[in-house]
């Protein structure tokens, strides 16, 4: 008998398992820290602060003129020119430059500026104690993401292959992608701390399901998975999974915040209440919507590529690049659902909540494909390993 060529390195496999449990524990701690941040974040103080902020934005008319005059006066003393840009996100940037002649100032005005979206102040609501929790949470998330990364790497070392050869490994790797993505965006200075709670929640949930339901020991691959396309196709699906989760969460928050904002506009919300307190600290609905769109639009070509890579692999493994295998079918359905979303966004009348509903449908299709089809429907994709 010919024995399996390369034995499994159980030492690394055990290390990987310990790392997965550690990452799960640290994600849980991070999740709790975010919860504390949201809970203890400035309550009434927030209300005051955001009111002040809103007033500032609302007063743009008079204030802008005053600002402009003051800055104009200042500008005339120094030979620089300043161009102030009020972006659609409500933020302003000022570009300056030294010029030869005496200089003035220019305002670039964006239409609709009368009510630029006002982002909430963030989970901590400016409260120092809460902010400390928030920062602890971010550090813990970073640590957990790194533990997760190491778990994936050691698993790969133990089996001498890409560490996403079954549903357990896939799930662990997806939580790694989502949390690393989050940490990288934070490190790049993006204002995404509000995603911390859902990202850590998703990671704890994902890892929990992975170890309890999907777990299999580190082993080599069945021949059908023996291909470099495993690197390409599955890692594509994985990155899409992590990013699409973020896109769906942003869409969910968008809908919640949008409902809140429109109720607030009709004076239907109880000011200072717990819900309004939380919602006031979230980014503006428009900002959340923009995030969701950007993530989903970024992922769509990648998802298309993933499907193509899968088709090339199918051609090599099964004899035809497309045979409507259940997994292929659901990948196609997911793709169409996201295409519908992008079309809907490009067409008038389907923005906002309606488009967000398409995101939910599309993401549900993705989840069903990754898990439902692998577990409940027997196709040629013999992936689950459970």
């Amino acid at each position: 008998m010919i024995l399996a060529q390369a034995a499994i390195d159980t030492k690394f496999a055990n290390i990987s398992n310990i790392l997965v449990y550690s990452a799960m524990a640290v994600f849980l701690l991070a999740f709790l820290a975010y919860t504390f941040e949201w809970t203890f974040g400035g309550r009434s103080r927030v209300a005051r602060q955001s009111a002040a902020l809103a007033a500032k934005a609302g007063a743009s008319l008079g204030q802008a003129v005053a600002d402009a005059e003051a800055e104009g006066a200042a500008a005339r003393t120094a030979p620089t020119v300043a161009v102030k840009v009020t972006g659609a996100g409500g933020g302003t940037t000022t570009l300056t430059r030294t010029v030869a002649a005496k200089a003035g100032k220019v305002d670039v005005v964006t239409r609709g500026d009368a009510a630029p979206p006002v982002d909430g102040v963030g989970a901590s609501g400016g409260d120092e104690g809460a902010d400390r929790f928030g920062r602890i949470a971010v550090s813990l998330t970073t640590l957990a993401a790194l533990l997760d990364l190491c778990a994936v790497v050691t698993r790969g070392i133990s089996a001498h292959r890409p560490p996403w050869g079954n549903l357990y490994e896939f799930t662990v790797a997806v939580t790694m992608v989502a949390s690393l993505l989050f940490v990288v965006l934070l490190a790049a200075g993006k204002n995404v701390r509000w995603m911390g709670l859902p990202v850590t929640f998703g990671s704890v949930l994902g890892l929990g399901l992975a170890v309890s339901v999907f777990y299999v020991d580190s082993e080599q691959l069945v021949p059908a998975l023996h291909s470099y396309w495993l690197w390409i196709h599955v890692s594509g699906a994985m990155v899409c999974g992590g990013a699409l989760y973020a896109g769906a969460v942003a869409a969910m928050l968008f809908v919640a915040k949008d409902v809140y904002e429109s109720r607030k506009a009709k004076d239907l919300v109880k000011r200072g209440g717990w819900w309004s307190d939380v919602f006031e600290r979230l980014p503006a609905a428009a900002t959340l919507d923009k995030w969701s769109y950007r993530i989903n639009a970024f992922v769509f070509p990648l998802w298309t590529f993933t499907i193509i890579a899968g088709a090339i692999w199918a051609e090599a493994a099964w004899g035809h690049y497309w045979e409507w295998d259940p997994t292929e079918t659901w990948a196609f359905i997911t793709w169409v659902a996201y295409a519908c979303y992008l079309h809907a966004r490009a067409t008038a009348g389907w923005k906002g909540r309606k488009a967000a509903i398409l995101v939910f449908i599309a993401f549900a299709c993705y989840l069903f494909n990754a898990y439902g089809v692998s577990i409940f429907i027997n196709g040629k994709h013999s992936y689950a390993g459970i």
Partner: protein, 565 residues
């Protein structure tokens, strides 16, 4: 809103939606046809069709499909006597070739064509024409800035400003056109190119897919070690032709299975899981086997021979039996492929001795040996609960559990017979004292039949199942798919935008500079881009005069900015 603003804001060559009103539709058949065409090619219809297509794809993943697994369909039909006929009528067992599924995607692609063709012309028109002239009131555009400049005091300041702006924009690779006191510039045409490329590629993909379906075909064949296959219909176990790929389309080639090798996980929780499969073959193109070349076929690594690919799809064992009749003449000697039942290759076998057997009374009869083959037999102590079965897929301890029948194998009844099953309707089991005769044999062992003959289990060979597929159009499908991704990236991430600059010299000699920009809502960068330009223009026209209060556009920018369209 003024019409020049309308024109200026048309940033996509997407046809205008006429919301079903169909104002200029005439009466009569032509009018109706035109109306239907408009409806079909509208974006909303395309969206609905797209959505329908994904809905229509769902049942195919839940109901067993004939194309994927005829046996599962047969199972389903047997189990659901009321549902099955309804499903049959609806074509639910072959969703992806059903009329309704085809109808949706054909409509979608007609709609797509109706979209692409006019858009392409329109886009070519856009490329040939100048960017549209500047609207009268730039202040109404989404992004706007203005300032006054005393300039250098010489005349023609406005002219110099415009020239400077033109070269600045050109340097940023905008297309620039001058009309009167203003310039118009536009950038990001690649968005539209990408969009068209994407949609055209979808078309390419459909065509490639159709070519594959119409001109492609495949067949499957089981080959035992040491045996050969040559590419003609008679050799196939199962041949799936298509409209233009028939028995006559098969080109001559062949291969011989020299050896099949497999390795299995020997320990751990996944013990027995296959790790590698490899079929070592000698193949030849044309009809001359003496020119054979050695090659190996593995899962994921098909062998390409003369326009066809040969895939390794399954494998199993073929026990070799020798049967002699009552006179001692060998009437059967060879391997019989058995059908694997589980991961450890517990297999069912049906060995059929069709002719030649004569029993001790001188009567000719047919023999059928029904057996269970286990490459590594479970210990007999386990049989009570689970019966004989295999515990490992490799040949560690092969056993054959046999019972023997005599009579009529039923070959001549006309009904197709499975090679793995025995039809015992017209056969009688050999018994001893009323008990069915049963044997458990290892290679090399045999037994004597009550009718005088002998059966010997001489050894085990392996078989491999191959799919020979001819898939024309695959390369085109791939090219189209790659183009689709490239187009998609352009269509999603390139921002098409316009920037206008107007410079007018007032009666006091000062120049009023106005710049305005427009982009699709998904891109917020236009404001920064405009600011950059405003900054760069300071060299030529520095902002050094306070805005005049009576100037309608300046001084109250905030008010005009707040103006909602």
């Amino acid at each position: 809103m003024t019409t020049d603003l309308d024109a200026a804001e048309q940033l996509s060559s997407a046809p205008k939606e006429d919301n079903g009103g169909g104002g200029d539709v005439g009466i009569g058949l032509l009018g109706w046809l035109r109306w239907m065409w408009r409806q079909l090619t509208s974006m909303r219809t395309a969206l609905i069709l797209l959505f329908l297509l994904s809905l229509a794809a769902i049942p195919g993943s839940l109901v067993p499909q004939t194309a994927a697994s005829p046996t599962k369909v047969a199972d389903f039909v047997a189990k659901h006597s009321t549902l099955a006929p309804i499903y049959q009528k609806l074509g639910l067992f072959h969703v992806y070739s059903s009329f309704w599924f085809s109808a949706i995607y054909l409509l979608l692609f007609i709609s797509l064509a109706g979209c692409i063709v006019p858009r392409t012309w329109q886009f070519v028109g856009v490329l040939r024409a100048q960017p549209p002239a500047a609207p009268k009131h730039l202040v109404r555009l989404p992004v706007y800035a203005t300032w006054r400049s005393a300039g250098t005091g010489t005349s023609a300041d406005a002219e110099r400003t415009l020239t400077a702006a033109e070269s600045l924009l050109r340097r940023r690779r905008f297309r620039v056109a001058r009309s009167g006191d203003a310039i118009t510039s536009e950038k990001g045409y690649l968005r539209e190119v990408g969009n068209l490329l994407f949609h055209i590629s979808l078309f390419g993909m459909l065509i490639a897919f159709a070519v594959g379906k119409l001109f492609g075909g495949m067949g499957t064949v089981l080959v035992i070690e040491g045996k050969a296959f040559s590419n003609n219909v008679a050799m196939y176990d199962d041949f799936m032709p298509s409209t233009f790929y028939t028995a006559d389309s098969l080109v001559p080639f062949g291969f011989k299975l020299d050896k099949f090798e497999a390795t299995y996980q020997a320990s751990g929780t996944q013990v027995g899981t296959a790790r590698t499969f490899q079929a070592n073959v000698s193949y030849w193109t044309g009809s001359d086997p003496s020119k054979a070349v050695k090659a190996s076929i593995q899962v994921n690594h098909p062998l390409a021979i003369d326009g066809s690919n040969v895939y390794l799809t399954a494998h199993g064992y073929a026990p070799v039996f020798q049967v002699t009749d009552a006179k001692g003449d060998v009437v059967f000697d060879g391997p019989t492929p058995c059908l694997p039942q589980d991961g450890n290759i517990t297999s069912t076998c049906a060995i059929k001795v069709n002719d030649g057997y004569v029993d001790n009374k001188g009567n000719a009869t047919q023999l059928g040996i029904s057996g269970l083959f286990t490459p590594t037999a479970a210990p007999a102590s386990e049989f009570k609960t689970t019966g004989p079965h295999s515990v490992f897929p490799d040949l560690l301890d092969p056993h054959m559990y046999l019972t023997v029948y005599h009579g009529d194998l039923g070959n001549n009844s006309g009904a197709p017979q499975s090679i793995y099953e025995l039809d015992t309707k017209h056969m009688t089991q050999y018994t001893v004292d009323g008990q069915p005769l049963k044997f458990d044999r290892q290679p090399g062992q045999g037994f004597k039949l009550p009718s005088g003959g002998t059966v010997t289990f001489t050894g085990v060979e392996q078989w491999a199942n191959f799919t020979v597929a001819h898939n024309p159009g695959t390369g085109w499908a791939l090219i189209s798919a790659v183009m689709a991704v490239v187009g998609l990236i352009g269509s999603l991430f390139v921002q098409r935008r316009r920037i206008w600059v107007r410079a007018v010299e007032g009666p006091d000699g000062a120049t009023t500079v106005e710049i305005a920009g427009l982009a699709r809502s998904e891109s917020a960068r236009i404001a920064e881009e405009l600011a950059d330009l405003a900054l760069a223009l300071q060299d030529t026209a520095p902002a050094d005069l306070p805005d005049e209060p009576e100037d309608p556009a300046a001084g109250n920018t905030a008010t005009t900015a707040a103006e909602k369209e």
